[in-house]
Assembly symmetry: C2
Homo-oligomer: 253 residues x 2
């Protein structure tokens, strides 16, 4: 039986995690290690200056569930080293995130942080996100597509260092047109800080903003999602900008 | 005069930040926005579920210093939008980090998270790290090289989306051989969790481990640093694994 580790960044109580567990369970032995609290925006953060906690919540045949006081990346690191110590792990699944991780969102995403961590550790991984921020979003519309992606990834050789960033449009099952392999769109957030006063007249701020698609290319994830396709971007953690190497070598550095 | 924003991930009291401020001050108007607490390992994390604070600590001619209750990426976002609102910012400097951010450390690094955030926002940026974790490390041995790198970057066209990951060997000034443009080495951490008991017999864990260089290529940062060169890796935030796009298109997805 396959050994599958599941995590997310919306926390152990999130509906998206429960849907992913339901979809993944028929594929093998499931170990869930999910954060105690919501961890949106945690990117690839790890906990180094505080101790970590990992507590078993549930154990039954082919299923165990732990809650972790840590980030999504901590969940993957702890999951592989404590409950799954000395075991071969076949797949790490992360999500289903409440909200888009397309385009540059991948950088800030705890969901994708967890998937990327698995790829660094040599385990195949998929991060799933639905373009619906609602806590009660309907994650089952794309369930058949997700089963197909998981089954295909299990059968496919994927090099170490590559994870898959899967984003699902907010659409009814019958309106989802299919799956496209995409590039990361060059879109971005336009942000501002909203200032508030606390009861002692001190300033504090909330980060707010909107995502601007701009003029994205036709091979990008944002473009595919707008056409109601599920987008898959293969993601690597080698950040080297190879194009720049020769250019910089010509500098006077 | 140039407008320069400085941040770090070791927090506002870190010696490395003070050295970077000292080195950068002759280059222009300096705005420091640094985290209140140490933020090592925060990667590209942003604060979304709690309010942020930004407090002015010091203001004098061509210099202002703020402390931020947030991550290094929050510091860059807030710095550009609050004290430097509506101003053209020429350069973001991050560091000098106490410890290496070479190879895959770039992914976990708050220092580089801040530099990458600047590159997303279209501002030139450099993250500096010294391969010495000591809180009282001697950051001045490489000061002449750092001045040269900053001066050269100011004069150079660098495309949006590219930041520079500069790592400095722990060596005396006279032993540093020069500067090399490098790729991100394919080296990694071998980690374990050390279990402890709290006074109520509850388990908790500390992440521990060592970085294993392995068989790194001669064009990589780790290799250059071992030869006592300063390494510069141009870093991009487009994570698309382009090599994989065609391979995945042939799948049955």
């Amino acid at each position: 039986m396959l050994n599958i580790l599941i995590t997310n960044d919306d926390g152990i109580r999130a509906k998206g995690l429960r849907t992913l567990i339901e979809i993944a369970r028929p594929f093998g032995n499931i170990t869930v290690v999910a954060p105690q609290d919501p961890m949106s925006g945690m990117g690839h953060a790890i906990t180094v200056s505080r101790p970590l906690r990992l507590n078993l919540l549930k154990k039954e045949e082919n299923y165990q569930e732990y809650v972790c006081v840590g980030t999504p990346v901590d969940c993957v690191k702890m999951g592989l080293r404590i409950p799954l110590e000395n075991q071969n792990v076949d797949l790490v699944l992360s999500g289903i995130n409440h909200g888009s991780n397309a385009s540059s969102n991948v950088i800030y995403s705890g969901t994708m942080g967890a998937a990327i961590e698995a790829s660094i550790e040599g385990v195949k991984s998929i991060g799933f996100s639905l373009l619906d921020y609602h806590h009660d979003a309907d994650f089952m519309q794309a369930a058949d597509f997700m089963r197909k992606i998981i089954a295909d990834v299990i059968e496919t050789q994927i090099p170490r260092g590559i994870s898959l960033n899967v984003n699902i449009p907010k659409a009814k099952k019958e309106d989802i047109k299919g799956i496209k392999i995409c590039t990361q769109a060059d879109a971005h957030w336009v942000e501002e800080y909203l200032a508030r006063k606390d009861p002692w007249n001190g300033d504090y701020y909330w980060l707010a903003g909107e995502f601007v698609d701009g003029n994205v290319s036709e091979d990008s994830d944002i473009y595919a999602l707008k056409q109601n396709y599920i987008s898959i971007v293969p993601v690597q953690y080698d950040l080297t900008a190879f194009d720049m190497i020769e250019k910089l070598k010509h500098l006077n550095l």
